[in-house]
Point group: C2
Chain length 326, copies 2
């Protein structure tokens, strides 16, 4: 207290219309001196608003997910929101746990980049009109706000490109089951193959257990060990492709001469001259911005534009797909 009542102080700090300029000035000065910090937590209790948003991600060790996470944190930060983060590492119960803890912490909304196709916890959240947006991965049903890349289209482009370069025995090392990203990319592969009347060899379609370097390495090694010899490998993401590249390099198979290789997401390292991975990219900044805007709109406007936004990816042709050599 600086002579004024506690209410006046609150009004001054919140820029209330009915407040005298001198009072306001004096209060601001003293606040500065004392180093007064309004407690968001008390304000939250009162206003039922915490200025916190929850962000549930898959894994920061994945470069692409890390990049998306960074953008979302930055964008939210610019809007005056703090971000509470949880990573699930795709543990079955991960998302549900994270949601529960975040609700306890009183977040105003939740952005999820770790959704699985069947995720009851997310469905419930949407059902009870809790602000939530799915980014990258989405639920099976077109429910809630979903901002994703068109993985089917992207993979379709990649496979078509390989086919045009004369490849026929195209293998796929995909992502874990139960994810919209994995599914979309498998779909794109099958679709492109079918459209071009290429018989699909089931043995050449491998399911990964994670979007990771290690997955790519192990599955590629396994494929080679089984004596399978595709002339191209499509990977569900760049990190898997890096691992595949290691396995091929170690096996003495030249890329792209022996086997062509393509990824998905277009990470920073993919353009490195020693890697030169053909991939597919889309606008992370836009994705993040749309996500943050949507969550704020839901939080503040209480209105939900139920919608599915598919960002169109763009083919980035580099050496590994062998285009230049054909």
């Amino acid at each position: 207290m600086t002579g004024f009542s506690i209410a006046t102080v609150s009004r001054a700090l919140k820029d209330h219309p009915r407040i005298s300029q001198k009072a306001k000035k004096k209060i601001f000065e003293t606040a500065e001196q004392v180093g007064y910090q309004p407690s968001m937590i008390a304000r939250g209790l009162r206003e039922k608003k915490s200025y916190l948003i929850g962000l549930i991600i898959y894994d920061l060790d994945n470069h692409f997910h890390a990049a998306v996470t960074r953008r979302i944190i930055e964008d939210a930060q610019l809007e005056g929101y703090q971000v509470i983060i949880r990573s699930t590492l795709d543990r079955p119960e991960g998302v549900a746990e994270a949601i529960e803890d975040m609700k306890k912490s009183g977040v105003d909304g939740i952005i999820i980049t770790a959704t699985r196709l069947k995720e009851e916890s997310v469905k419930n959240l949407i059902k009870e009109k809790f602000p939530v947006v799915q980014v990258m991965r989405r639920l099976e049903d077109e429910t809630g706000v979903q901002i994703v890349s068109d993985g089917t289209y992207g993979t379709h482009m990649l496979v078509n490109h390989l086919l045009r370069s004369g490849r026929r025995k195209i293998a796929m090392i995909g992502g874990p089951e139960g994810l919209s990203t994995s599914k979309g990319r498998y779909d794109g592969y099958f679709q492109a193959m079918r459209e071009n009347d290429i018989a699909i060899n089931e043995k050449l379609v491998l399911k990964g257990t994670a979007f990771s370097y290690d997955t790519g390495y192990r599955l590629c090694k396994k494929m080679l060990r089984q004596g399978l010899k595709p002339d191209a490998i499509v990977c569900a993401d760049d990190q898997i492709a890096f691992g595949v590249m290691q396995a091929l390099d170690e096996a003495g198979i030249f890329i792209p001469e022996g086997i062509a290789l393509v990824g998905f997401d277009d990470c920073e390292m993919s353009s490195h001259p020693r890697i030169q991975l053909t991939s597919v990219k889309y606008d992370i900044n836009q994705m993040s911005l749309l996500a943050v805007r949507s969550i704020l709109k839901q939080i503040e406007g209480c209105c939900i534009d139920y919608k599915l936004i598919k960002l169109v990816p763009q083919l980035v042709v580099r050496r590994t797909c062998g285009y230049q050599t054909v």
Copy 2:
């Protein structure tokens, strides 16, 4: 209310000693049914505790920082704490802003991996006995809890290794000024050179503006453009080294035959057969665990073991340093 008073419910849920088993049972059952979630924010207001810890990082686009961030989030999560995250991108005001916002949000403690040598905001935090731990980067003064890698020792090892391999004109592409990590690595370089009576060519010591791919690429190009021809380049981190590698590759300079190259941090991609970057690694898991334990001890025990822990890095020799070819 389930027949019992609000106080009894509170006691039941908190496992109070003086409570009848039947009451407890009944309350738990009804809580389950209603899907009751205790509001951390109300509890926080009352107990002056939020079960939130703040994490201030530099940039998730840096693979190493992303990896450390991941571990810290996981470890905190396991201890029942939620993590509020902010990235500063090394903006001058970044840390101070982040600290202010986090205090407003009522975090119980703050872990910082983005500290600069002179960071008044962090010093103040420590002075007022707010729980805080510095990870990776630290303040100039040995104040507060500091858990870092011994960058001087690590770089010393790297440079010594290059010298033993016969290199003499060793360049350094370092990190931004004002960071303990940058400083430690410069120190290690100078120390090793001096100990071996190698004259230091100031032109071969370049200061980066960030720990990034781009920095390495630009500075290396600049160095080559100036007609400088070192026989080895020491980089302040692996990501810088990746950029340097791109510049050298583009310039048609063989690594390590023409110029040897070493990094720091040992990222996943550094072991890739096409990269094979010699680097220095240390235990991220341990670093994270120590950080989380320390912050919890400070929060819960209210006691601070003021201390500086330097994790000893380990040399990882690969192709780029040219050891095998000597």
